[in-house]
């Protein structure tokens, strides 16, 4: 079951997602990166139907890039979140995308922010958010330990606590997680938390 969660700290936002690609009872791979780097200072962590997830997030990424090319300045996180919600809302009554999104970003003027966008296009700015069965554990963990203005070390500690909780309490717990961070220096991968390593792909 797909687990995605994230939180806002002091001058940064962090998102974590599981990395298993599952079809029914089969695990295709355990190192699928579900957190896309939207642009230099935005991350989009998506969960849901895998085809929709990839197609929709790539569509958003390309449109965000197009805006920057046309206008010479990047979109703010709020604008990107509202654009994403608009696309989901327009498609909702025609051809809905079954993708839940946590959009994390950093803007120079307003600092870090995290947006919760569920698959029926409900948009809300949050300090901490989560999707999937893992949310029952990670949200409670974050409710207990989160406070505003956490440092990176404290936030990573909390993320690890959430991952521990998911691993021990969720019946079909995903083994591996990826953690990405966005701050004034940009959006980048922070760490992987692996308990099962995929065999290396043999070179052709």
């Amino acid at each position: 079951m797909e687990c995605v969660f994230g939180l806002v700290g002091n001058g940064f936002a962090i998102v974590a997602a599981d990395t298993s690609a599952v079809h029914s009872i089969l695990v295709h791979k355990s190192n699928e990166d579900k957190i896309m780097v939207l642009d230099s200072h935005k991350l989009i962590a998506a969960s849901g139907e895998s085809g929709d997830r990839v197609q929709f997030t790539e569509y958003i990424q390309k449109n965000v890039a197009l805006y920057q090319f046309r206008n010479g300045i990047p979109l703010t996180t709020a604008a990107a979140a509202n654009f994403t919600r608009g696309e989901l809302a327009t498609a909702l009554r025609k051809n809905p995308y079954f993708v839940n999104i946590l959009l994390a970003g950093y803007d120079k003027e307003t600092g870090p922010s995290l947006y919760y966008i569920d698959y029926i296009a409900t948009l809300h700015k949050v300090d901490k958010g989560a999707f999937g069965y893992g949310s029952y554990f990670s949200l409670s963990m974050m409710d207990r330990h989160y406070h505003s203005g956490m440092t990176v070390e404290e936030a990573i500690d909390l993320v690890d606590k959430c991952i521990m909780e998911i691993r021990s309490r969720l019946v079909v717990a995903p083994p591996n997680f990826v953690i990405k961070i966005v701050d004034k220096d940009g959006a980048r991968e922070y760490a992987w938390r692996e308990s099962v390593k995929d065999a290396a792909v043999a070179s052709a």
């Binding site: 569920d118 296009a121 809300h124």
Partner: protein, 204 residues
Amino acid sequence: MQIFEYNGSALVAMVGKNCFAIASDRRLGVQLQTIATDFQRISKIHDRLFLGLSGLATDAQTLYQRLLFRHKLYQLREERDMKPETFANLVSALLYEKRFGPYFCQPVIAGLGDEDKPFICTMDSIGAKELAKDFVVAGTASESLYGACESMFKEDMEPEELFETVSQALLSSVDRDCLSGWGGHVYVVTPTEVKERILKGRMD
């Protein structure tokens, strides 16, 4: 799964002496899970007109954006703000447009009309208007709200007493509804000022 009870909401508007109050709860949930406790359900259309939207949050957000757009166009063309009665007709028309694929929202409209006469109304999801002289309610807690308002309402209350009445009615009603609550948001509007207050109730 009832679509009107997916996110949970509580809305009430009450008429006083040359003033009105509109209040909502602050919970945003996804069925049994609470996502946020600071969700804004009431939006300002202009200084003397407020719109509250209960029901499915995504449709409430879409509907609000469409109505704000229509009001801004009206302001450009007519060079004045819309009267509450006119706005209620606009909302009703927009909702009925989608008669066979509706927005899952119940709006509550409250405003000061000509000669500072307070105007309140609510409608169902397909635009059937319900004008009232005393109070209107909407949301998952509507039955409790009807009872609470009916017993607490008095004619011609001054703004301070109106605020107390609306707050008590809202808090006692949402305490009986698991899908709404986590505090309250009350706007008391007189011809001269708008007072916005946050209530702290049972946080559960």
